[in-house]
Symmetry: C2
Subunit: 352 residues, 2 copies
Amino acid sequence: MGYTLEEIARLAGVSRSTVSRVINHHPSVRPEVRERVWRIIREVGYQPHAAARNLATRRSRIVGVVIPEALPKFFSDPYFPAVLRGISDALTERSYHLMLSLLSPQQEEDFYQRALRGRLVDGIIVISAQITDPLIRQAYQEGLPVISVGRYPQEPGVSYVDVDNVGGGRMATDHLLRLGRRRIATIAGPQTRAPGIDRLEGYRAALRAWGIDPPPEWIAEGDFTEIGGYVAMRRLLSARPDAVFAASDLMAVGAMKAIREAGLRIPEDIAIVGYDDVELARFTDPPLTTVRQPIYELGRIAVRLLLSQLEEGAREPQQVVLPTELVIRASCGALQERGALEPRGASLSGWD
Amino acid sequence: MGYTLEEIARLAGVSRSTVSRVINHHPSVRPEVRERVWRIIREVGYQPHAAARNLATRRSRIVGVVIPEALPKFFSDPYFPAVLRGISDALTERSYHLMLSLLSPQQEEDFYQRALRGRLVDGIIVISAQITDPLIRQAYQEGLPVISVGRYPQEPGVSYVDVDNVGGGRMATDHLLRLGRRRIATIAGPQTRAPGIDRLEGYRAALRAWGIDPPPEWIAEGDFTEIGGYVAMRRLLSARPDAVFAASDLMAVGAMKAIREAGLRIPEDIAIVGYDDVELARFTDPPLTTVRQPIYELGRIAVRLLLSQLEEGAREPQQVVLPTELVIRASCGALQERGALEPRGASLSGWD
DNA sequence: GTTTATTTTGGGAGCGCTCTCATAGGAGGA
DNA sequence: TCCTCCTATGAGAGCGCTCCCAAAATAAAC
């Protein structure tokens, strides 16, 4: 423990430089020498000192992953673990390390100073940024490598990966239209955040394509939670919709409750489509038709974009939007065997 | 961008050493000089280079958090996010950074080499180790700072934080005994992992204290999953128990299904207590009495132990066991208003 | 067998910081 | 007023690596 390059060099009877070349797989070392050096390295269990290397190369091979305001959402939402897995897998493949920061807004500034400007990390990936995330803006303006998971409209030059929320909203609404529904209401997400805005935009686009102009009373705003969906749905009921597109599964669940309380049937009286495909969606009554997003991929691609900046020096903003997928279950009325998958009590494994 | 100590020194008209003292809050700098230096630092936005500092101090202020085999469990289990939050909060308070590694067994070795022996991290916290985790053992044997979240019986000197699984099992079982149940069966967790072993031990201890010696047919082993609980319960039914202690909530849910299929009522015919207090436990029918663990604290304390090794050079193994808490709902029969909390359909927010 | 080109190796100079030690001022005591 | 004792500051030597450049060894060309 605690060997240095110098000592390995001495043991192998070569110079420091040669050992350095061996570790870094530089071609111009005689195979015989290379072998000898490796043997010594393995023998004594030598491992180059990370800080020394980082200092000399001016690279740390560490990527910061920032989850602002993680505290409430990090729990319930399967979103974060999935993105994180994607990021982690992709980084590991490329021999990078992942520095995780669950930050409150006050801590963000401090983090930024220490980690990014102090070159502790080579770049950062910010997940689910507020629409005006100062971290992203600051990093971007100083030319430090940053990728946003979720589009970042404030600063058009910021690279991001996002899911096609407009497309997802359109797909969900279009599906209801094709099933013959015409009075399609929506429970939109908060209009302060990109997913909320985009999914509503998709809803509008789909209706527009069918020549329908939704009146204001078809649109209610929720906050992505179950209660929010419930409250919004009660308001929408007076418009007598025959279908609802909810911008999150949780809101869809709340909406289903309100619909049932009003004595209406799902999907016969009101069809419903959610968004996210959370695990729960398979176990609602009836199972929820919903929009699935490639969340794991989101993480992987964020890494790919960041490393292309880091290693190939890509300068122009790269903006990737991934397509979504419609998962058809019974709540939209497209399936015959409605109720067949209905669970007894709450259940998570899906085996019953 | 890219200022060095030297340059700040020149700008402030002092030496490098003095600037270094200022940043490190060394007392012996004249207040007037200190102020002048700080002003320059703020003005140019200077930030010390992390790698240079790490090299000189031989400390990185980074702690590695290793979650082996994260892939399947990281999702469903609220355990990991909670521990992670505890760790993250505690580290942030002490100005440490968190390096997260979601590792497959093959990657563990590589990680160990690079991160720990290369001094990329000052120490590691391993969550939910396999009972024979090689990472922990290797680190421990080389004297590198490692804390296990969950006890590590293989190597008695390893420091760990754990939850009192024996106490939790005893508490759950004792509760059923106090409610008058006498034929108490258990669905134990896998006997290859500490929580499984310990909770069963607690069950035994509680019965022993009441002079009851559970026959083998009262004990079935599950794998912590819902199916596992279902299968185990079907086996147990032939022993005609009047209560069951399931070593996980998921198994309890499976057991409830089996009980109901057998035409028996909960809690009248068979009372049931689970373990973990997962979110779902509030929404089963009837709501599940269960054992809650201080998971967030687990993370915080892991950090405290690690830093006491790192900063105060604590050498002797520190082993902390946290108490659990019994959350009484209707499934054990202790509550009158059974069914009052019963949800309609699936629901997560608990507001209905 | 030279000369020239090429590959392999070694030495030196950093990377940007900390930390010990020596020195220059000042304060305090006689 | 002089000497002693602190306190504030500066200089220098690393920390352990990479990378450039020149030297040595080898191969190729004449």
